[in-house]
């Protein structure tokens, strides 16, 4: 892959009454353009992601041209569940790799309603009965997956709480995060159980925000910045037969591996590096159990090793493999179209050594991101200085 990220922008995540999804997208886009020192009129293409455009109630990302300028560029809208942002970046990278374009924008935003997602069963090909009986909730899936995983691999509730406490602690060091107040493991464990074994503060919530990246041909990166970050690997994979996925009325007896496993392998293979080479990672923590399971699915450890790793603090900012240094989804919430771009924004900051109080020590050179979502899609990127 010969693609560079030369500009980054982020609208803070949280709740912003009176600010539209498009306002946030434009904010992030302009910040990314300024960061790259490139004019909107110089961009040849854009890819914009959001879930709101397909759920209803959200703007189509391409309507941003009426705010940023009607230059006639190609602008393609993307909506691919929780992997929307990863999919938007993959499309942009493929366009550059194919030689179609030299420089463009990837942008994503969403402004979700308060509370848990409440999709129409029909949107996932399910009968209305599935919602009628009270099973159309993503949170139930995450709870059932970690409940089984704890049973199989000896993960404890204390470790679930440690992951959430780390998220809030890292969020407190991130001025763009929604949740910036540290919380103790005791408070997290004592909170109401939303879906056993997970408590209120172990979950992320849908919210609002936007992210943007200026991407270009790697050999042209130095026109825009002296600190480019290169996309060495990128992959988006759907689920294999037997994978345990969100909103599934049934599962085959034979277990298949998760889509993240395929996406991670493909991403590392493309980049020519392995999980052990990664200096800092942002992975999908829809709830604290997801971060634990995704550590193994991405190849950072074997199933069950997370218990000792997390108890020893290895995934903290100063640890062997810092994970979710910006507070992850738990502290930032999840505006789906922007969530994966937030992860990449954080990795670029870390690799530029611009992450301030939450900067990982040393000279991180290799960063990694992963998003996962309904109905079973994983998207990964491998980024280097």
């Amino acid at each position: 892959m010969d693609v560079a990220i030369v500009g980054i922008g982020l609208h803070p995540f949280g709740r912003f009454d009176g600010v539209s999804d498009l306002d946030m997208g434009v904010f992030a886009a302009r910040q990314a353009l300024r960061d790259a020192g490139v004019a909107w009129g110089d961009l040849q293409f854009a890819v914009g992601g959001s879930l709101g455009q397909t759920l209803g109630g959200g703007a189509s990302p391409d309507t941003m041209v009426s705010r940023l300028g009607l230059t006639g560029l190609q602008f393609i809208n993307v909506s691919n569940g929780c992997a929307t942002a990863g999919s938007a970046l993959a499309m942009a990278c493929n366009s550059i790799q194919a030689g179609v374009f030299d420089v463009g924008l990837v942008v994503g935003f969403d402004k979700h309603a308060r509370g848990a997602f409440d999709p129409d069963p029909a949107s996932l090909g399910l009968g209305q009965w599935y919602g009628d009986v009270g099973m159309m909730l993503t949170t139930q899936f995450f709870a059932m997956k970690i409940n089984r995983y704890m049973h199989d691999f000896g993960i404890t509730r204390s470790t679930l709480a440690k992951v959430a406490a780390k998220a809030f602690r890292n969020g407190s060091l991130n001025p763009n995060a929604w949740r910036q107040k540290p919380m103790s493991e005791e408070e997290i464990l004592a909170a109401p159980v939303l879906n056993y074994p997970l408590t209120q503060y172990m979950f992320c919530s849908p919210d609002e925000g936007a992210g943007a990246l200026v991407v270009c041909r790697a050999d042209q990166a130095h026109r825009y910045t002296d600190r480019p970050v290169f996309v060495q690997g990128i992959s988006v994979q759907t689920r294999q037969f037997g994978s345990f996925e969100v909103m599934a009325p049934w599962l085959p007896i034979e277990r298949g591996h998760a889509p993240t496993v395929d996406a991670a392998r493909k991403c590392f293979e493309m980049a020519g590096v392995g999980p052990a080479d990664v200096d800092v990672a942002q992975i999908q923590d829809s709830e604290s159990g997801a971060e634990i399971m995704h550590m193994a699915e991405n190849g950072f450890c074997e199933d069950g090793e997370q218990e000792a790793m997390i108890q020893a603090g290895e995934t903290e900012i100063g640890g062997r493999l810092p994970i979710n240094t910006d507070g992850g989804l738990i502290a930032n919430g999840e505006p789906i179209g922007a969530s994966g771009l937030r992860q990449i924004y954080e990795i670029v900051l870390q690799l530029r050594r611009d992450a301030g109080q939450r900067q990982v020590p040393g000279s991180p050179r290799v960063g990694y991101t992963q998003v996962y979502g309904a109905p079973g899609v994983g998207a990964c990127t491998l980024l280097t200085t």
Partner: protein, 149 residues
């Protein structure tokens, strides 16, 4: 007791009325994969040779959780008052040699549920519609629970 009309939450999910209700799935004639609910195509071998097949009445609990907050309605069919909402449990029951099926569980205390415990299929009222019709759903019940059997 006045006579009440009962109606399944959706046709084709379970055999009913029946003293011994069973879930209705489909099995692939080519590779043997079993789905729930029944569908015409096989997600295992990509073929389309599915035929209707009934699940066993008993299985074991593969995983579970509780629903501790009021689900949004729709898609949930019951408009619950947060003040009176009673959490419910859901889980997957593994039917040996068939598939794991998701459903509500008639025991909402997680301390009384355990992965691997024996479960059976029952059909119970989910809610009562405005016209008095009882909407019936399948659910799983721990075997040996008081009143069970």
């Amino acid at each position: 007791m006045p006579a009440t009309t009962q109606s399944p939450v959706a046709p084709g999910l379970f055999t009913w009325p029946s003293e011994a209700p069973q879930l209705i799935g489909s099995r692939c004639r080519d590779c043997g994969v079993m789905t729930f609910p029944a569908q015409s195509d096989c997600p295992g071998c990509t073929g389309d040779g599915m035929e209707e097949s009934l699940f066993d009445r008993r299985g074991t609990l593969w995983t579970f959780t509780t629903q501790g907050f009021v689900p949004k309605s729709p898609p949930y069919s019951i408009k619950e008052d947060p003040a009176t909402f009673v959490p419910y449990a859901v889980g997957y029951v593994e039917f040996a040699g068939q598939a794991r099926v998701e459903g509500r569980i008639l025991e909402n205390d997680p301390d009384k549920l355990a992965i691997g415990m024996d479960m059976e299929v029952v059909v119970v009222p989910l809610r009562v519609d405005e016209d008095g019709t009882e909407i019936m759903t399948y659910a799983f019940r721990p075997v040996g629970e008081a009143g069970g059997g």
